[in-house]
Symmetry: C2
Subunit: 458 residues, 2 copies
Amino acid sequence: MTKNPLLVPEIREYLSKKDKKAIREFCKSTHPGLVAEFISPLSLEEIWQILKDIDPDIRAEIFSHLDLELQIKLTETLSRKELAQLISEMSPDDRVDLLKKLPEQIKDALLPAIAQAEREDIRKLSSYPEGCAGAVMTSDYATLPPDIKAHEAIERLRHEAPDKETIYYCYVVDENRRLLGFVSLKDLILAKPDTLVKDIMNKDLIYAHISDDQEEVARMIQKYDLIALPVVDENHALVGIITYDDAMDIITQEHTEDMEKLMAITGPHESAAYMKTPAIQHFKNRLSWLIILELLGLVSGLIVERYDHILAQFTILASFMPMLADTGGNAGSQSATLVVRALALNEITPKDFFKVIFKEFKVAILLGLTLAIIVQFRVFLYQLVSPASLPYLKIGLAVSIALSLQVISSTLIGSILPLIAAKFKVDPAVVASPALTTIVDITGLLIFFSTAKIILGI
Amino acid sequence: MTKNPLLVPEIREYLSKKDKKAIREFCKSTHPGLVAEFISPLSLEEIWQILKDIDPDIRAEIFSHLDLELQIKLTETLSRKELAQLISEMSPDDRVDLLKKLPEQIKDALLPAIAQAEREDIRKLSSYPEGCAGAVMTSDYATLPPDIKAHEAIERLRHEAPDKETIYYCYVVDENRRLLGFVSLKDLILAKPDTLVKDIMNKDLIYAHISDDQEEVARMIQKYDLIALPVVDENHALVGIITYDDAMDIITQEHTEDMEKLMAITGPHESAAYMKTPAIQHFKNRLSWLIILELLGLVSGLIVERYDHILAQFTILASFMPMLADTGGNAGSQSATLVVRALALNEITPKDFFKVIFKEFKVAILLGLTLAIIVQFRVFLYQLVSPASLPYLKIGLAVSIALSLQVISSTLIGSILPLIAAKFKVDPAVVASPALTTIVDITGLLIFFSTAKIILGI
């Protein structure tokens, strides 16, 4: 809900009147995320006309809120000088995200036009591998020495604040930048002005290492309700912070990837990707698993072929095949989803293996029995409608037992596979539901035909 | 990563020595979330021994970080007076979450022991239906009048701060509590001390209504990188705020629910639920869909039965049935997942119906053709291995065409159903992947047998 839901005509009017003052005022008094939303539908020329004349730091903030794709398109319309200035003003993490997407030749032409300090910072932040804490942190944080007074600290922040991503947490470091603790701005405001920073700082720090996984770091921020989490290197020196807003984006991105993996879709998920990803890319992301699963499906076909003498003798059995396969796949997928999610949220670890299996086993027995009773009714209906001389009692028994065994084995397979994956540090979500469905199809058919063979004495 | 990973023995030592000072010092200088983690493995008596003697506000914070289940168990060991004091100190949103879980008789005995103002606050916050902004907001926020100076505002916050959930955003309200704007603590610190609050406040507010959906509100906080979002009633009066940490929890909870719905598991997901949910509850959450899908699977059986003369004539066709069913289910689930997620992240809306369908159609054609070519090889292998006098060319053609049509129709069904659900304001994730798999089983069998009938001329 915002006060000005439709400002585009208004902005266009400012533009046509060349009312630079009104534009500047509007951009200054409006949340940069909102301005970005309002100006996104405009043409590239119009967007730059608006951004060109406003305060450089507000410009950089609004620019950072634009979609990454739009940012890239805009950079192509700018002169090298304009682009270098814009990038210098952007926050360190946002500009590294952008630079990673720019063509090499533009980057090479651009970097010499950026000041030494920023260039060094960009080089360092770009050097961390994707997915680790170093790659998502920002180098834009406020530090304080331990031996100054609270009022001096506030005075210092007053000077530094406009440039920093957050001043709500300030990190206390020694002369070697080693992390000693942190004070919140709230602590500083509440403290007596003459108290030393080291006497009010929190010493029991929660922090991450550069190489920690981004999802774990985001979960720490969530667990401890932090505004920012400090990141240290191997010498315990402070090298960056990760802020709560980046943690939220990481969590959402990881959710999407988990969900897609669970549905056998490969490839990373960039923000706002669905419509922007071309069909050919969707095709590629989805093809590999579908081919593997098609081949697995053909293995099921081999089993059907091998037992076709049973089907020839009792064609009624063929009509239970789809139900058996589906039910196994569904029960197994449910277990896999619950276990994958519980692992992702750290509700369980691979050490809980037997506890989880025991729980799933209990659930599976209850489900298997209930579903088997229902299928008995179906066999009974067959008997009523077409009273041919078939051994209905044995057929019912075979189908019920096979269904119970299928539900129990699928449930166990669905819960064991992600636990094993987690044990070996593989992402549990690779045990995708479609893969599982296809695997339990094979086990289900084997169970079904073996049971039928034994009970019907074929 | 924390500085003191294993403090339990240390805390136990403090306890056995009755070193109240050391305990108090430890609780004060350590993040309440960490203290909660450290003391959780202790017995209820030990936990309360620690919490009893520390500052009431720190006690309430640590208590709020304990698992809700542990909180409930602890309340049972407390006297009415102790519990009333604890609840009075808790933050408004956390205590309402706890009170909602307590038995009616405890609540009724407790409320008279709580001060009038808090009681009124609890009553109001509990009155909003689950899932809306009102139910997740806290009433613990700092407000400022528009006509005071920046230094007066800071002075005022200095007095109010210890009680407020956040003082980093302060809301500016008129005499009727109508929301006029907000100032960040950063703005106040940076402003000249004599500037009026109304001259530095952000007027272009982003806010939510009490009845807004909690997920939409959380997504707004994420989109605009807010620390807190104000919530207003129908008179535009400020009634609460929702903070970034609650937004993170809402996003995680909604995601778990989406994932479970997508896998045909019903029921809400409380935090840390997997191991704590008894097997019988898991059974209930999972049974209803499995029964529905079992019945649908039996419908597939009817189709197989109806066409069993085709199978009797060409038993080879039966061996392609599992692959056809699986591939359709997999392709459809992939589309459904992509569309459900894109809808959840507001990447697309039901208005993009034709754009989405067109895109999925393109992907489906590419997938259908590629998978059909692979199945041709399989038919060719059959021909090599068992050169019976079967019309392999026609069989190959029938299977390939059926597979292509199956992939195309499943993909379209998988993308259309969630879009229709969203259009009618039904959660798109109800189009669960298992349901979809079972539906496209039926359509797939119909496509398969019809195609075979036409091409093989049976």
